[in-house]
């Protein structure tokens, strides 16, 4: 049986990782978010993309309804120290802390450790090769597959 046939046959059967890619705040472009969304899809994940200018409340509600395994937050505006902790706290309040939360975009090095303390599992700077992010997700999901 060819490898393609095997792939096609199993494409329906496996348990899929579901991811939400969101851009909180007032960012104007979403190229980075779209790049990661595509990469996750090509890695076999089901990616829900919620688009630009999402409030923390809407992002968390979407993550809950879609019951995703990982929430990927893309942020360029510099408001990461207000928006990201807000999102993590909302998730905790709504009993959603079995969802892995990662962030990407323009986030200064000095803020990364603070963010990790608050509950962002990992931060991926611009130019991070997408396989790095994909593998991180695969190896660090909080929920059992």
């Amino acid at each position: 049986m060819s490898e393609t046939t095997l792939k096609v046959r199993s494409a329906g059967a496996e348990r899929r990782i579901r991811a939400l890619v969101a851009k909180p705040g007032l960012n104007s472009h979403d190229r980075g978010a779209k790049v990661i969304a595509r990469a996750l899809r090509d890695a076999g994940m089901e990616v829900i993309y919620t688009g630009l200018r999402q409030t923390p409340e809407r992002i968390v509600e979407a993550a809950m309804q879609e019951d995703v395994d990982v929430l990927c937050l893309s942020i360029l505006s510099g408001a990461h120290m207000t928006l990201l902790p807000k999102i993590v706290n909302l998730m905790k309040r709504k009993d959603l802390d079995d969802i892995l939360v990662i962030a990407g975009g323009i986030i200064p090095e000095e803020d990364v450790s603070k963010l990790k303390e608050m509950g962002i599992a990992e931060v991926f700077g611009p130019g991070t090769p997408t396989p790095v992010t994909v593998n991180y997700i695969r190896n660090n999901l909080k929920r059992k597959l």
């Binding site: 090509d42 076999g44 993309y49 309804q65």
Partner: protein, 319 residues
Amino acid sequence: MTYSVRELAQGVLKRDRRSVARLMTAIENGDPDSRAAVSELYSHTGCAYTVGVTGPPGSGKSTLIGQLAKQYRRQGKKVGVIAVDPSSPFSGGAFLGDRIRMQELSADEGVFVRSMATRGNLGGLAKDTADFVSVLDAFGCDIIFVETVGAGQSEVDVVKLADTIVLVMAPGLGDDIQAIKAGIMEIGDIMVVNKADRENAERTVLEITEALELETEQKEWSPPVVRTIATSSEGADKLVERLEEHRSYLKKAGMTHRRIKGETQLLEALKAKLAETVIADLRSDPDYEGMIEKIASRRLNPYEAATELVGKIVGKKWT
């Protein structure tokens, strides 16, 4: 925090949104207890009005559903939405981009939106879409919109699932003649021409109207054509009026409609159960791969092989 799948069913009945979401995941991943959970919820279903929204990609289905949801929310109705998108047959992944057009609804607790990937299922929906509709029904949704993949010409799953089917077209998509040829026009209870502000919109309305007149079969319900501009909500109120008209029509047709749905549900459940049981058994049979080889090299006919297999299974039962 751990929870059992059966507890999730109770959570759904208690109107807990998190339980709805988690139960859907359990069903989709084939959790063995999810069958029992769906079964438990069955007696609590039957209240929701299900509207299938189908049509070619780019016609504006998602945006239109967003507008319809808003209309129903103004009436204080609880709304559910299931949006289906295709899985890549190679990576198995999917880009579920319908929600983006309805994202403002996430601020409204009276709306529940869930995206699904087809995971290889053909026919416009995912394998578990019907069960997801049941969960939303038991959860208390008054109306549930199901958005199909939207390839346009093979969207037959939705016919078995929805009470009313809305077919959304847009001018210039080149689908008018195709649609007539493919017979997809037969499945629409309400025809929508979206992006009605475009130049060739009236021509599209005309083509659809003419195509409907070509349908020679005498029907009791004549599908109306509604013009909308989903991005500005124009026409959404008219569309709601047509939906309610069709709903009344179905009510008058009474039990017939419910019986057809009931029978469909039974046959689908039966097929699924049979397939699950038989195919699992079959795959562990040492002769299985050999059988496939023979069929591929034309030494064995798949239809005869299937008949033989069924004979063996039924024979086992009857001896």
